[in-house]
Symmetry: C2
Amino acid sequence: MQQLRPSTIREILKVTAQPEVISFAGGLPAPELFPVEAVSRAAQAVLADGGSNALQYSESEGYGPLREWIATEMARRGVRASAQDVLVTTGSQQVLDLAGKAFLDPGDVVLTENPTYLAAIQAFQAMEARFVPVPTDAIGLVPEEIPALIAQHRPKFLYTIPNFQNPTGVTLPADRREKLARIAAEHGLTILEDDPYGQLRYRGSDVPPVKHWDTAGRVLYASTFSKIIAPGLRTGWVVAPHEVFLKLLMLKQASDLHTSSFDQRVAHVYLTSGDPMAHVAKIRAAYGERFGVMDAALREEMPKGFSWTHPEGGMFLWITGPKELDALALLEKAVQRKVAFVPGRDFFPGDAGRNYLRLNFSNSTPERIREGVHRLAALCRER
Amino acid sequence: MQQLRPSTIREILKVTAQPEVISFAGGLPAPELFPVEAVSRAAQAVLADGGSNALQYSESEGYGPLREWIATEMARRGVRASAQDVLVTTGSQQVLDLAGKAFLDPGDVVLTENPTYLAAIQAFQAMEARFVPVPTDAIGLVPEEIPALIAQHRPKFLYTIPNFQNPTGVTLPADRREKLARIAAEHGLTILEDDPYGQLRYRGSDVPPVKHWDTAGRVLYASTFSKIIAPGLRTGWVVAPHEVFLKLLMLKQASDLHTSSFDQRVAHVYLTSGDPMAHVAKIRAAYGERFGVMDAALREEMPKGFSWTHPEGGMFLWITGPKELDALALLEKAVQRKVAFVPGRDFFPGDAGRNYLRLNFSNSTPERIREGVHRLAALCRER
């Protein structure tokens, strides 16, 4: 195993656990919006009715009725899949781990957005992968650049977060998704499409997943209940072409046998009682409001030289500061002023500037967002 | 990734799901002994009191109070450890995965008992490890054989299940454990001690873990709540020397971020309310009775040429048949007679005979054990 970089994010999360710190650092959903009572009712129902099954070992593939629910949900998202194509995982993070194990040997190349999700870098680094960033503009990956990268680097797969990307918040337009799928088919490229945030759209219209255009069976689609129910349940899934599915299944079994039988059944009862989508609409509305408040506060208070993305959903926006900005030094001062964010450097698998900040807006109330931006902007003006 | 062998056990489990099949195949605890009501009360308590924390992302290390409980439990088992040494994992299976990632590169050697736990073979095979079996007699690993194997193969670690081993049911005596720890210290050998069954002793006296004698910090100790609460919660742990702990922690984070916040808190409330150890005593008594019934039925009905182990705890016994026996062929006939077991072949990482059977006695009632042995023994007599 190679040296892994420690996760700056999680170290900061610990420092900022005190309530007086306004943290835009973590990637946490709003806990006050968790459907605690409905989950509690679901847990009681699961343990009242066939309770011992919910506590027993179960199939590595996942709980059958939950896989059925996911297959139906996939159709709603524009992807034809049967329950047999669905592997339930311990959060969608585990999909990254399993895909890394299935596809990567030491030295193998993964194509990624630039910047990309920190814990994906870590998962693939555990397999001693190398990263080749795909040129990325204001609306995401540039598909036309990919064939040359394939020829040069023979990547094992491309990792992408097309919706409300982490860390930038950017959404890849439909025409680029279709092109990605076509390039994958033509060049035999595997794509790992990670979609944790897609249901959190508060503006604009849904764009079908890359997997929607995947006629050649080259796309693995990963998603999670972390943002539409709660992350503590660690329940996600992957839809994969059959041969890849079988490999992932064997690796899943060796990794943790199966995902919590209890959590899977709680999720299933929750999803099939009441109106879970109405709850998601509530989350969406709250996050939309919070983004709006953060954006307005930034416009009002940030000095010249700073710009930021305007995501149509998700939990993050991405600030680009003046070239000479050292975001890590800024963070050190910010923590003293009781406000935190994540410096952007660690999200770049290759070399990159130090002048980026990732701000999370889902985990703070509008009042705290205003106050936090106020503290942060004051620091930026002092520079 | 190398070709993995599919798990015969899990494929058989699917075939034997019909209730008319008496299955000695799986490795399942007795579901009628799961503390369903107490777990249900714990789930309600967890969600009533600070419920949103139980559904939020949490630290990769594990839930603090649960780590404290485990540290205290480790002392009871004869191992000095602080909560900081405890990493909570998604079942103890995940410890095998993390240790494999931390220590193994393709081609590296793991020393194992012969036979050993099937899913450990799979976890280390995912890292493309090679297996070197340590000579094993009727009471387990022979420590004296290990120094020569270290010199010859430079193994990355030794994997062992000292209590009621899977698949044989054998328990390694204290003097051999002490020797193992001494050899590890003298030769710089890492030991991964897997102890899922240690609390299931129904005869004889507890033997301290190898970790008890680990003055040199060479032993990783893994255990689980699967057998003392319920496996569906997928909650286990590892106690590791600090440097190894940090590596495992980083790999844990990349694998699934953390183990279910909900399940960890449910386990903790369950363990700290009522008398969980009294419940374990009930499980122990039931398994002891079931072993006794199986042993008596085997003695009464099995033909000459078959012998079996007499475990003092755990869930399995191990039958050695006549040299010419083909246990896989026997299984095919047995399934037609509505009784199932696991052929022993797959538990041997190297070459071995085909004349072994693993029988599980924890998951069947005494009546079904008698009837199942009756069916199986009839087949064995017909050979």
